[in-house]
């Protein structure tokens, strides 16, 4: 039981990272971006490439950090990958979403995001192949946290959880204590009024994409570390991430964080109730339950 709870939190951290970006984009640009999860794939593969590159260029970095399977090369690669993924999110906005936003309506944006997701997924498949890949072939054995009840945790996952919490705390400070944070919230609240007050809407949109892409990249790498990397990461995670966003309430960053943990824990605990064959239904069930009980999510506000 406690083991399942812990596993859920570890998976939830990854979903939260993905959901933060999604909820910000959904709130500001007012459309359900189905291509958001593909940013996780981009991040995971970008880190894979940079990681290999660094290991060749600077063999010093190829040593593992303490008990982790992560190397310093991978840490550097993650930073670069976050930047690259953020940049590609901005690029997608320039190429696709901005044009559709100017000419089409909300629904066109949703369809455009579907199309973009397909393109990104298949291009990754074309370039890297459909087989699964790993950052490190070594299997890092789980550490026993306690004997009774038996609690096993992989060091990588703890590191990922710690990093996630640190980033969330930083994000919280930025949003609540800086002018930039107010500006961001103002734009989300009412774009026209925000512009009247001298906020550059275009700049804010770029920043939201950069942030969302960067966090998604981090989620992709953490997922690749604890699982494996394949071109269908995005497809596999799009639903849980959406569930997390909806549970938390669209637009609420804290809601997204909490939603991620709720979905992760629920999916793990579901095995007590459901046969294992039905576990993919859990995100759907959560979405339905939330929409029935609190249509705007836990932290969301009604919006016309």
């Amino acid at each position: 039981m406690i083991q399942h709870l812990l596993d859920g939190i570890l998976i939830g951290a990854i979903l939260s990272l993905g959901a933060i970006g999604l909820t910000m984009v959904m709130h500001m640009l007012r459309f359900a971006n189905f291509s958001h999860a593909e940013l996780l794939s981009i991040g995971a593969y970008a880190a894979l490439v940079f990681d290999k590159l660094f290991k060749v260029l600077m063999p010093v970095l190829a040593d593992q950090i303490g008990p982790l399977s992560m190397t310093w090369a991978l840490v550097l690669a993650i930073v670069l990958s976050m930047a690259l993924t953020g940049a590609s999110a901005v690029l997608f906005d320039r190429l696709v979403f901005r044009r559709v936003r100017e000419k089409g309506e909300e629904l066109s944006m949703v369809f455009a995001s579907f199309g973009l997701a397909l393109i990104v997924r298949n291009v990754i498949g074309l370039v890297f192949g459909l087989h699964t890949q790993l950052y490190s072939q070594d299997i890092v054995f789980a550490v026993v946290l306690s004997r009774d009840p038996l609690l096993l945790v992989k060091p990588d996952q703890l590191a990922a959880l710690a990093a996630t919490l640190a980033i969330m705390a930083a994000l919280h400070l930025v949003l609540s204590r800086t002018t930039f944070g107010y500006a961001l919230r103002a734009v989300a609240e009412n774009p026209v009024l925000a512009q009247v007050n001298g906020i550059d809407l275009r700049r804010m949109i770029v920043i939201v994409w950069l942030l969302g892409g960067g966090l998604a990249s981090l989620a992709g790498v953490f997922y690749g570390l604890s699982n494996q990397i394949s071109p269908v990461i995005g497809r596999d995670l799009v639903l849980p991430i959406f569930a997390a966003t909806i549970v938390g309430g669209i637009g609420s960053i804290y809601g997204a964080v909490l939603g991620g943990f709720i979905v992760g824990i629920a999916a793990n605990l579901a095995l007590f109730v459901l046969p294992s064959g039905y576990s993919p239904s859990v995100p759907f069930l959560i979405i339905i339950a939330v929409l029935l009980l609190r249509p705007n999510g836990l932290f969301g506000e009604a919006r016309t």
Binding site: Q3, H4, D7, L10, I11, I14, L15, H131, T132, Q133, L134, Q137, D138, I139, V140, F141, A142, L152, K154, Y223, S226, N227, Q228, S230, V232, R235, D236, L237, P240, G264, A267, N268, A270, L271, P275, S276, G277, S279, P280
Partner: protein, 422 residues
């Protein structure tokens, strides 16, 4: 402009060549009998299966065709999609009027074709590659109308050999992870009952859905009973993730693997150092002369080894279907042809080889009212009452360069072991 002319010239040349070939064929026999084939030609491993079937048809035509008529195989693609496969089969039965349908490959495609096209249409269906035991159940219930045959051993063989490995290794308890699709559920159920028949405790049987954010919960559940060994009925993709999770949580390295995990990707991503106690199972080609003869014939024709899945099975499926058509005589219905299958695979019959000469020899024997024993690419094929065949099996393990055979179980050993489970 220039390109257009050359295209047209090419077309004309092609048409002329085609006509010449057709004319040549038609000169030998003045009638044509169609057989249908529904195979996944749009996937890379499906095309060789279809080419092998066509290879058989060519040889039979070379030997003078079936019942005095030239055979034309009308091939349609299934795209490994049940809907497309049923449409293709319907078109072949209704429009082309075929009495014999070859295919499909996947059980999930063959099944709807059988229940909604061939059984209602009273057409014989012969699959090269479907392994689900759902067909056995259907035949036992009498719903296949005696029209269903397959030259591919059922999942039952794979499961039984997996259970035998566990017993031979002395494992007392086993946890099962199976893929949550038709094949995996079938395999999971079969091996669980085989384990029980051998007195091996099944501590957990857990379905694995592909594309999950994490397999942690499933693996933890499988680990709960602290089993001696782990049985894996998974594909390499989710298999790698599940096994890495299993090992990192301190699970046993005693593993039994289904043939689907016989893959370099799985070995490399899990790591050979953890697979020392992993034993795999697979069905095998029989070690008989007729199987070697098939390999030689295949190499002579296609200039490559018959390494893809289902090639020997496709060869035998086609040849047996055509032999049965020969035995049933001209303009026979699907039911009449299906009734003749036992006469061309009769263990007491005159042995015939699986080539043009063999077909001509069989024609002679059948015309005299005798029966023949077909000796094919998968050995002396013998169908049971449900249209199923058995197969020899191998136990294999991973090595640096691929896999190596640990043990070979002949057809008699496999059949004997399966009988002992019941």
């Amino acid at each position: 402009m220039k390109r257009r002319i050359s295209t047209r010239a090419g077309l004309t040349l092609g048409t002329a060549l085609g006509m010449a070939v057709l004319a040549g064929g038609a000169a030998a026999q003045d009638c044509t009998t169609k057989v249908g084939a529904v195979l996944p030609t749009s996937v890379d491993w499906g095309r060789p299966i279809a080419e092998t079937a066509q290879f058989v048809v060519d040889q039979v035509n070379e030997a003078g065709g079936v019942a005095g008529c030239r055979i034309e195989m009308v091939l349609r693609d299934t795209q490994v999609d049940p809907k497309v496969g049923v449409d293709a089969a319907k078109a072949l039965v209704d429009l082309d009027g075929v009495q014999v349908l070859l295919g499909a490959v996947s059980s999930g495609v063959s099944m709807p074709i059988l229940t909604s096209v061939t059984v209602p249409g009273k057409v014989m269906q012969m699959s090269c590659c479907s392994s689900s035991t759902a067909f056995t159940t259907l035949a036992e219930e009498g719903k296949a109308g005696g029209l269903w045959f397959r030259t591919f051993a059922t999942t039952g063989v794979q499961a039984a050999v997996g259970a035998k490995v566990a017993a031979d290794q002395g494992y007392k308890s086993v946890a099962i992870l199976y893929k949550n699709d038709d094949w995996g559920q079938d395999l999971g159920k079969l091996i669980a009952s085989d384990f029980e028949a051998l007195g091996i405790e099944v501590t957990a049987s857990v379905a694995i859905n592909d594309g999950q954010p994490s397999f942690r919960a499933e693996v933890t559940e499988a680990m709960a009973g602290n089993p001696d060994a782990l049985y894996l009925g998974l594909y390499p993709n989710e298999g790698t993730a599940a096994v890495r999770e299993w090992l990192s949580l301190g699970g046993t390295q005693n593993m039994i693997l289904a043939n689907s995990l016989k893959s370099d990707e799985f070995r490399d991503n899990v790591g050979l150092q953890y697979l020392g106690n992993a034993l795999g199972t697979d069905t095998a080609s029989p070690r008989v002369a007729s199987a070697d003869a098939f390999v030689e014939r295949y190499k002579a024709r296609f200039d490559s080894e018959p390494n893809g899945p289902g090639l020997a099975n496709s060869y035998d499926a086609t040849m047996i279907a055509l032999l049965a058509m020969e035995a049933a005589g001209k303009d026979a219905t699907g039911e009449e042809i299906a009734a003749q299958v036992s006469r061309v695979t009769d263990p007491e019959g005159t042995p015939v080889t699986a080539d043009a000469e063999g077909f001509a020899a069989a024609r002679q024997v059948l015309a005299d009212g005798g029966s023949v024993m077909y000796q094919g690419a998968t050995g002396n094929v013998r169908f049971d009452a449900n249209g199923d065949v058995s197969a020899p099996a191998v136990v294999w393990s991973f090595t640096e360069s691929g896999t190596e055979e640990v043990q070979y179980l002949s057809l008699d050993e496999v059949d004997g072991f399966i009988a002992s489970l019941k």
